[in-house]
Symmetry: C2
Subunit: 373 residues, 2 copies
């Protein structure tokens, strides 16, 4: 759809054809905040075609958060999921992933002078964007190259599906560029860029066309890392802790939560397994525990930490709190990333530490386990 | 449990015996906010018995909101549900309902002078409480009778399971007392009493031991009713509206939502079916519709209305907005109540109006349909 008042390009002809060929009669349309106008438009279109539709108003945080349960309760035959690319290895309910790409390059183009300004004397940059802005990376790379700055665009890796794409939790596609670039430019929300900044020591520039912001995240990176270490230190003084997992399809890491709880108990903590669909400070606070470990969405530990009050550590940070891993090592390899977010291939040391099989020694902590499909 | 620092009486011996006889090995403990300390205690107890437990941190709004989906995802064999009595006619996952009654009558006793004060010259009162305070209704009734005020305690009816019990959405047990009492006294949160106040024209006194408040809700009733009518009027000017249903097991009224959407379309509205697990202003706002109809928890229309901004009408209010029912009739019969909340027996007029079979005529709008099991 590219309605006169829609800022997004959505492939409606393809959608209608696919629904027709599948014989879909009743669908659930799921979308993140910001794309719900598109969901209403699609519902209206389908209504004219005789396909019944529900629009989900539940939160939707990514391709990890597909509304299978809601779809099953409603008895729909198909989910139409807007705004994210596939993350799950298989869908429990048939799911059509429908991208919503911004059609208008202007909000991005207008930021180019600011981008060039903040780049300083970088000669080579790594470029990536969230799926909504992917069509306009060429706009930036051309402008950069005209000024003599070489622009490298990342290849799909791990959970990203397209050249140049980053997700809110997976920045691994940026790593192969590391030795070739002086700087990263990430188009999307500030958080997309913060995730990248926490993965690399290279300068990272956030470009948010929506809020018209261009920002070097160097200071923010340092502040977040200092705060994370303070929470790790605070966690060491905790006695009663919760190990939190989510039942969201792409965030369900019950095995990891169980291993972490056992490890914590072996170190003298009282550890409880806590679950939720939506994990949040409002509902965790009532347990009045001293600290939490988060095995659900890694962004929660950064975005909700201030509202949590209590430490809300990522799995690797927990190993640091237990003196099983060096903080410097986590910082070097990327604090936001789950062990399996760094690379699908490589080391098994994280899991070995977790299982108590091996002390922290090597630099090779890259796990081949991707356990959320 | 009646631990030295727990304000609740929880029958732990019975729980342990039942889990043992059922052979439960892995449970999910679910509780509303305020009772999560008990959930942690129970998890600790079960750990010592070799029963694995998850504690749910999801919101839990009542006996309508049993975490079957979460339990199914976790693969537990039993749910332990704290703080509510059974609401569902059958449980999709084996569920043990564990009451948490306040052991200490003092917070209630200390309010008795205020209660007697606010009663004015009432000679006969109807008494009810939420399950947590049920053990102490006798404390009030004795004090009242000593002052010559006759206290009548309601019988279980509809969804209430005990003498004197009211739920957050079902006050039908109060109706048989209507012609015998001058006033109702409802012990629980202010909202429990507001629900009762909206059902009756008799004076309703809220007694909240937690916040130590005693309040005649007459003014609040009038204010809420005026606001409701203002939102009904605003809804009439809407063009694009959402009919909202929840997938929560005891709130899932997809058939009602569908009927309301069809009715709205027949009256010239653009009506969309919107679903969620958690229904809330934050997630509905992004659709930018002109108004909403709520078939999920009736409390949402009162408690979240101010934050919604847009009209968020109950089904009966929607019929008023469509000029199919008199506002005065709804006020007389209780605005909070769903058609099936008034009485399980009796009239079918609500459903007939909804299906377009019959115009609004009688006073007999009591449906036998209880469609949320």
């Amino acid at each position: 759809m590219n309605g006169e008042d829609s800022p997004y390009m959505v492939e409606l002809e393809g959608l209608v054809a696919r629904l027709g060929s599948m014989g879909s009669r009743k669908v659930l349309i799921q979308s993140p905040l910001g794309l719900r106008g598109e969901a209403v438009r699609i519902s209206q279109l389908l209504s004219g075609l005789g396909v019944a539709s529900y629009i989900s108003s539940s939160n939707c945080w990514g391709g990890c958060d597909i509304a299978y349960s809601e779809a099953e309760r409603l008895g729909v035959d198909t989910i139409i999921h807007l705004g994210h690319t596939p993350f799950m290895r298989r869908d429990r309910v048939r799911t059509i992933y429908l991208e919503c790409r911004h059609t208008d390059p202007k909000p991005l183009e207008s930021l180019i002078p600011q981008i060039l300004d903040v780049l300083d004397d970088a000669k080579s940059v790594g470029l990536a964007a969230s799926i909504q802005w992917l069509d306009h990376l060429g706009t930036i790379s051309s402008a950069l190259e005209r000024r003599g700055v070489k622009a490298l665009i990342s290849k799909p890796y791990m959970f990203s599906q397209y050249v140049g794409q980053v997700l809110g939790c997976d920045y691994s596609s940026l790593l192969p560029l590391e030795s070739w670039v002086d700087c990263y430019i990430i188009v999307g929300s500030i958080f997309h860029a913060l995730g990248a900044a926490l993965l690399t020591r290279k300068m990272t520039v956030a470009v948010d066309p929506h809020s018209q912001a261009v920002k070097n995240l160097g200071e923010m990176r340092e502040r977040v890392l200092r705060q994370r270490y303070a929470y790790i230190t605070a966690f060491r003084k905790a006695r009663k802790v919760g190990v939190v997992s989510s039942v969201k399809p792409g965030q369900a890491r019950f095995g990891l939560a169980d291993l972490l709880a056992r490890l914590l108990r072996s170190k003298g903590f009282e550890a409880y397994l806590i679950t939720a669909d939506e994990v949040g400070p409002e509902t965790l606070d009532d347990f009045r525990l001293d600290g939490y470990v988060n095995t659900a969405c890694p962004r929660l530990s950064l975005e909700d930490q201030a509202r949590m009050g209590k430490p809300f550590l990522l799995p690797m940070e927990t190993l640091v709190a237990l003196n099983l891993l060096e903080w410097g090592y986590v910082v070097e390899n990327g604090v936001l990333m789950y062990p399996w977010g760094w690379s699908p291939a490589g080391g098994r040391i994280f899991w070995k530490i977790l299982r108590g099989e091996e002390p922290s020694t090597g630099k090779d902590m890259r796990s081949q386990e991707i356990s959320c499909a």
